[in-house]
Symmetry: C2
Subunit: 160 residues, 2 copies
DNA sequence: CCTGGATAGTTACGTTTGAAACCAAAGTCA
DNA sequence: TGACTTTGGTTTCAAACGTAACTATCCAGG
């Protein structure tokens, strides 16, 4: 048996390369970067802007709050992305007469055109990605991601 | 058929909630946050510091460069995380006499103790996570993550 | 040797980020 | 009606980040 091992890092089998949170993060970052490479330089937008655009392509008219919920971004990030897109004339605010706190956001024609350009590229990118997976792998992946998203939030570590 | 639809966002079937890069990112973020909640407040460290610690628990003695490679972090991030851990007395630099540019980093006894505390918690966390997946799901997940990491990097979008 | 790259790591600097404070418009309730 | 709270959204501020520049060391080729 090995000599005194009292203080040295216990032989926990924690290998980073096999550690799920790490692996997930790296995979997500790589995939995300790959996609971003397609739109960031070419169209001068970042991930938050892209998420807002994507959401607005999906729902023609939508409030900032709803964008945040749908795109998993905090209100600060949404606010800034929206401001930036508005400044570039890609979206427009249409005030909600029934509640003057919020406004409906709408793609301008230029915004719609840009979205129409990026979306197919983005779809083609995931197409290429997913084509490396078998149908059953893809199905399982989606099911697993679903479970992870659901399950984790319930795991609000119970007080010792 | 619908009236003129020339400019409006084409009916691309791009639903963010079903879009792989987005889903991956969200899942990774949620999982990562769940884990971070375990160590960030309780032990006052962030993700980069945790990654360095995890790497060092795996390889008793390792250079900054190697940490970066193993933990998928840039040298700046590694440098800062290492500096912070060193300042807190959790790791120590042991100069490499054969190459004075680099130094081997080693866990101090306190560092090892801290690692010994966090690692089991981290492992228990993924345990809980993975227990929601069937063995075959887990296996597929790992295979898929592997593929995504490999494949994506090759997809350096070919010049038009 | 010594001069011109490389390489490990740090520092400087501008950008991005999120928490918390803030603002204005709605709701609540007495 | 008029306080008090809540809610959508913005702003502020300090921390975290990445790129690029820098330092110090090492390694070739001449």
């Amino acid at each position: 048996m090995p000599a005194t091992d009292a203080v040295s890092p216990e032989r926990t089998p924690l290998k980073l390369a096999a550690f799920l949170p790490y692996r997930l993060n790296v995979a997500a970052a790589i995939v995300s970067d790959g996609l971003a490479r397609i739109y960031s330089r070419r169209f001068g937008i970042g991930v938050p802007e892209w998420r807002v655009l994507a959401t607005m392509g999906e729902f023609q008219s939508i409030t900032g709050k709803a964008i945040g919920l749908h795109s998993h971004m905090g209100k600060v990030k949404v606010s800034r992305a929206v401001a930036s897109l508005e400044a570039r004339g890609l979206i427009r605010r249409s005030p909600n007469e029934d509640d003057m706190r919020e406004a409906f956001l709408v793609l301008t024609p230029e915004g719609a055109r840009l979205y129409g350009e990026i979306a197919p590229l983005a779809l083609a990118y995931v197409e290429r990605l997913e084509s490396t997976l078998s149908p059953s792998e893809l199905e399982t992946l989606n099911a697993v991601l679903e479970k992870l998203m659901r399950r984790t939030q319930e795991l609000d570590d119970p007080p010792a």
